[in-house]
Amino acid sequence: MNARAKAIVPYAAMLAIAAFLYGRTASFAALGRPGQLGPDFWPKAVLVLLMVTCAIEILRVALAPPAKPSALANAKQGHGEGDDHAPRYPVLLLSGIVLTILYVPGMQVLGFFLATAIYLAAFMVVGRYRRYGVVAVTSIVGSLAFVFVFMKIVYVSLPIGVGPFQSVSTALMALLGIH
């Protein structure tokens, strides 16, 4: 994807979403009273502003002459400043997102302690930290600390899981003096 298309994509996406949401305002516009601004007025105003901004930006990028990098930009890149050209690891990012998504249902099934210990360990390993002893100790001690602080001190009711995992959480809570 060239630079121009890359610059247009976010605005085009926002324009499409805004247009869709504008269409949805019709469902609550009918609830307004005659002679008064209805519940659709404010969101419509915001959406119009959003669509106009996106349209202008798309036109500006599309019609602008191709930009040549300035001498300073070249010099900065030469010295490694700015991270536009820094190496990126999309697989790492994707793994992080998947791991984070799995953590949410994992917490409900396994309970906070087990899910968190696994999440922390997996996150560190995926993040290319390879001292496995440190990973194991940090994730278990860290999870225990979170359980203690949030359940015992801040009184947050963290998920305890289902089935056998619930028994693990309950035993752990009894061990930490959490009732």
């Binding site: 976010p10 605005y11 926002m14 805004a18 949401l21 949805r24 305002t25 609550f28 609830l31 307004g32 008064q36 601004l37 209805g38 519940p39 007025f41 404010w42 969101p43 915001v46 959406l47 502003l49 959003l50 901004t53 996106c54 930006e57 040549k68 300035s70 001498a71 300073l72 991270d83 190496p87 990126r88 690891y89 999309p90 790492l92 990012l93 992080g96 997102i97 984070t100 998504i101 949410v104 409900q108 968190t116 999440y119 922390l120 996150f123 560190m124 995926v126 993040g127 290319r128 930290y129 860290g142 979170f146 949030f150 001190i153 801040v154 009184y155 947050v156 009711s157 963290l158 998920p159």
Partner: protein, 514 residues
């Protein structure tokens, strides 16, 4: 004046209670730690501390967050000066003279200048908050809905105008925030808006999850994509602070005065936070300082100006927050969130209804300034130890804090899913260089803006000129127009200049400007 001083004295007495002192001490240490770690921004740190305040009463909560905010403007200076690692964006100007002075063999003296600047900026900011907040609040008692709408609009337009290199990105970010605020049941008509049949969306989207997700998880994902490349610190560099001589300090009176004014003003103007203050103060010094031609060679002016201004912005930010209930930055938005979570609505009435609390917060600012300087002088060495932790480990815990923070407020699993969604949104913002602050402020101030606008329209028979006809709202609306027109004027001037000198030279000139 006498009354203010009496109240402040009482504030110091209230600050002496165990809970408040403990909150102050913890806030100072954690703020310093957050600022030292390059992966954690100051706002992110304040956001992550928010869930710990749920079980506390309101005063220690605000004392904790304000202390974090203040010490966070100082902590990052150590790593900038000693290791060329800016802990915060606001510490970047310190690389130019602070790190250079350290490289020239005077790291202790550079840290001495940083400490003095933080102390001066902190005291100035605390005094200015005390002096300005009450007049601000008294003035605000005259406000009706058109004035509130105009003020909120001014706040939002300031955030957009200062959004960075692209105003369009700022507007898009703001509109997304304003739209998120409309989700749920509308207050005037009771209509469901953008709920898509999902019951939990009827309660609206909590701005806390937007903040925590976008600032916290979004940043973690962005750093993960870069492979967690920041190496852990492995340096035996000596960390000590040496104060400059009195005669040297006296020579910097002009710098101190200019930077103080810049700092306090940048604090009061919504959107212009510590980072803008730091860069502007350095720029002012480069334009008007006695030693402007030597800037960048490791002179004290280049250290004092950005550090003093960035610390001085904190009190400026607290003035509109307390007197009007309008946050001007990400950190003050979180502090507003803490107020609201405890059922306290900041605004002109707060000085009557919760005077004790307000003056305890002011007193805590004075104490925090002294505390952070003592901490910086005596305890920075163990604090810098956190830099030895690998980025993958700290990031894993930051992500965990995000989840627990969001879950703690309502004990709702839906909020966990929201965190994931806004984490990805935050990452995309980071990736495409859209500013997050306008979205967060739009999300928080959106309901205030909509309610004051709708009330004005109902009260004045849909006459929109009312915003321009009333003296206070009219003046503020003119400021809104100026704030929005200024970037356009700059753009136009740039285009004219480009036509005269050629696009490449004009682009180079733009990039060279501080």
């Amino acid at each position: 004046m006498q009354d203010v001083l009496n109240q402040l004295a009482l504030g110091f007495v209230h600050l002496g209670t165990g809970a408040n002192l403990a909150a102050l001490a913890v806030g100072l240490v954690v703020g310093m730690l957050v600022a030292v770690l390059p992966g954690l921004t100051l706002v992110m740190g304040v956001v992550l501390a928010l869930p710990f305040t749920y079980g506390m009463s309101v005063t220690p909560s605000i004392v904790l967050l304000t202390a974090m905010y203040l010490s966070g403007t100082y902590g990052g200076a150590f790593t900038s000066v000693l290791f060329r690692i800016p802990g915060e964006p606001l510490d970047v100007p310190l690389l130019w003279d602070g790190y250079t002075m350290a490289r020239k063999g005077e790291p202790a003296k550079a840290l001495g200048w940083v400490l003095l600047a933080a102390l001066a900026g902190g005291l100035i900011t605390a005094f200015s908050a005390v002096a300005l907040a009450v007049p601000f609040a008294k003035f605000a008692l005259r406000f009706d809905s058109p004035e509130y709408f105009a003020i909120v609009l001014f706040g939002l337009s300031g955030v957009v105008a200062l959004a960075g290199d692209s105003m369009a990105k700022g507007v898009v970010s703001l509109c997304i925030g304003l739209m998120l605020a409309t989700v749920g049941v509308d207050e005037t008509y009771g209509a469901d808006r953008f709920t898509f049949g999902v019951p939990i969306l009827k309660d609206g989207i909590e701005y806390l999850v937007v903040m925590v997700g976008a600032y916290g998880l979004g940043e973690v994902l962005a750093r993960m994509e870069q492979g967690f490349v920041t190496p852990p610190l492995d340096s035996g560099r000596k960390v000590e602070t040496r104060f400059p001589r009195w005669s040297e300090i006296r020579q910097l009176r002009g710098t101190a005065l200019r930077s103080s004014i810049v700092g306090v003003l940048c604090g009061i103007v919504p959107g212009a936070g510590a980072t803008v203050g730091s860069f502007v103060a350095y720029g002012v010094e480069a334009g008007y300082g006695k030693n402007r031609l030597k800037l960048g060679t490791g002179i004290p002016e280049g250290i004092v100006a950005p550090q003093l201004a960035s610390t001085a912005t904190v009190g400026g930010h607290m003035v509109p927050l307390l007197a009007l209930g309008i946050p001007g930055s990400g950190a003050t938005a979180v502090i507003l969130g803490a107020f609201l979570l405890h059922g306290v609505q900041p605004g002109p009435q707060i000085f009557q209804t919760s005077g004790d609390m307000v003056y305890t917060i002011f007193a805590s600012m004075f104490a925090a300034v002294i505390g952070m300087c003592l901490l910086g002088y005596f305890a920075i060495k163990p604090l810098i130890w956190v830099l030895r932790l690998p980025e993958a480990v700290t990031s894993a815990f930051v992500a965990l804090f995000c989840f627990v923070g969001a879950y703690s407020e309502r004990n709702s699993v839906t909020d966990l899913w929201m965190i994931v969604v806004f984490g990805v949104v935050g990452y995309l913002f980071e990736r495409f260089r859209f500013p997050i602050a306008p979205m967060v402020l739009g999300c928080i101030l959106g309901p205030v803006a909509e309610n004051s606008f709708m009330t004005s329209m109902l009260s004045y028979q849909n006459d929109w000129t009312i915003f321009f006809r009333r003296p206070i709202s009219g003046t503020v609306m003119i400021l809104v127009v100026v704030a929005l027109a200024w970037p356009l004027v700059r753009l136009l001037r740039g285009a004219i200049r480009a036509r005269r000198v050629g696009p490449e030279v004009a682009a180079l000139e733009r990039e060279l400007k501080p």
